[in-house]
Amino acid sequence: MKCVIFIALLIPMKNIFAQDSTSNYLSKNNQVLEFKLGLGKLQPQLVAFDFNYQRNILKHISTLAFSQIDVSAWDRNAKKNALVINHLHFLQTVGIGSTIGRKRFNTGLFLLGGGRIYHTHTIVEGLHSPNLYTTKFLPELGLLLNLKIGKRKYYFSTQLYFPLTPFGNSIIEKNPTLTFGVGYKLTSKK
């Protein structure tokens, strides 16, 4: 099903142009807001919601504020003594990157830094204390690859975010996410 949706998104792309002009997209006044939905690797049912605010500061250089919420599916139908762990993560980062590409596609590659809050709810029915809540905050460094396809004010956007931290063995598993959504250009100058 995921494959069908992905192909359905790809087909119209061949007729959709990128921003109205490359030079306009690279203008210093360019600002965009994006909302996206997608999946993370951590668990099959981990859903990611993204929010980007991007602003150009030089011709090829942009700053980016990137927020993400990951949630896992809620499952209370657990057998006695069986383990269920539910996750809620909130990531907030800022960073800088470069816009590359021309005409149809517009790609940005960003290096981001910030922090992530990990909240877990562990459930084992039948125990003396069946619920365990933990919250931890860890700093994070990540890479973000963003692809914009669309006309003028509104456009499609797809994005791959890959955390670089933690480095080496850690209590946290890295969770790259792939999201798809829409963007809105706040300013546009011909």
Partner: protein
């Protein structure tokens, strides 16, 4: 002159710290052998660490360490435990123990030996050989140690120490073979395995085992949630149903499964020496 006195005093205070007795691991105390098990079908390298000034005229307690030749922070586990035991022995002025460190072979063999039932989640189907491994410990390793070294042959003189699936195995010995060991160092145990089957074994064995005299340590990390919730249940049951159990627990703040191991090993050994 005043400044010189102050400087001398400062240097003296700082050098006092270095007067603490520090031990270096002595490789000459290690005896290496291997045992072919007819129960599991595998051959296990075994590392036996003798106390300094080991004498056949004394009877020593034995500390069985599962995954004994794994590496932790770049050093072999049995060597780190050897140093911890020396320090604790000196600290409490008690006789040191003989360490029996058992290798865990490869990952598949480790799952087979230390997991009580075949897993229903990843790694699916692995596990289920704990009974054979328990027989290997009781009927092959223990007799070898008792035949070749001067050891206390009662269960009170035997300790078992395991981390992760090794911790699960300590629970298995506690519930299914309670006559072998009376002292359990259970570190970050994977009691979630098999939908918490170890809890079921404990319930089944409780009536028979509840009056046993035990020394038990349970340690885990704050951020290994799946392990922590079961470990806390295990602790609750030990406190509620085992009145003759001398119990110590340790939660390592801000640490996970691997990062909490060293502190818990150290605290468990210190606790055992304080009580033995």
């Amino acid at each position: 002159m005043k400044n010189l006195k102050f400087l001398f005093l400062t240097v003296f205070v700082f050098t006092l710290h270095s007067c603490k007795k520090e031990f270096n691991f002595d490789d000459t105390l290690v005896r290496q052998t291997s045992i072919q098990s007819k129960f599991t079908g595998s051959q296990y390298p075994i590392y036996i660490v003798l106390p300094k000034n080991y004498s056949v005229n004394k009877k020593y307690e034995t500390l069985y360490v599962l995954d004994g030749d794994d590496e932790l922070d770049g050093q072999l586990v049995y060597k780190q435990i050897g140093l911890m035991c020396q320090n604790s022995s000196s600290k409490y002025s008690k006789e040191n123990v003989i360490i029996v460190a058992i290798s865990s072979l490869g990952q598949d063999e480790r799952f087979r030996d230390l997991a009580p039932v075949p897993s229903v989640v990843q790694p699916i189907g692995q596990g289920g050989g704990s009974e054979n491994y328990a027989k290997f410990l009781e009927l092959e390793v223990k007799p070898y140690i008792e035949k070749n070294f001067s050891v206390d042959t009662t269960s009170k003189g035997r300790v078992i120490c395991g981390h992760s699936l090794g911790g699960t195995m300590t629970g298995y010995m506690f519930t299914k073979h309670p006559d072998v060991f009376s002292n359990y160092l259970t570190l970050s145990p994977a009691f979630w395995w098999g939908d918490g089957v170890m809890l079921k074994y404990e319930e089944e064995a409780r009536a028979k085992n509840s009056s046993n005299e035990l020394i038990t340590f349970v340690g885990y990390g704050e951020f290994e949630e799946g392990i922590r919730i079961y470990a806390e249940e295990w602790i609750y049951r030990l406190k509620s149903y085992y009145p003759n159990c001398q119990l110590e627990t340790n939660l390592v703040k801000k640490k996970g499964h691997i990062s909490s191991a060293k502190e818990n090993i150290s605290k468990s050994i210190d606790f055992y020496y304080s009580k033995k």
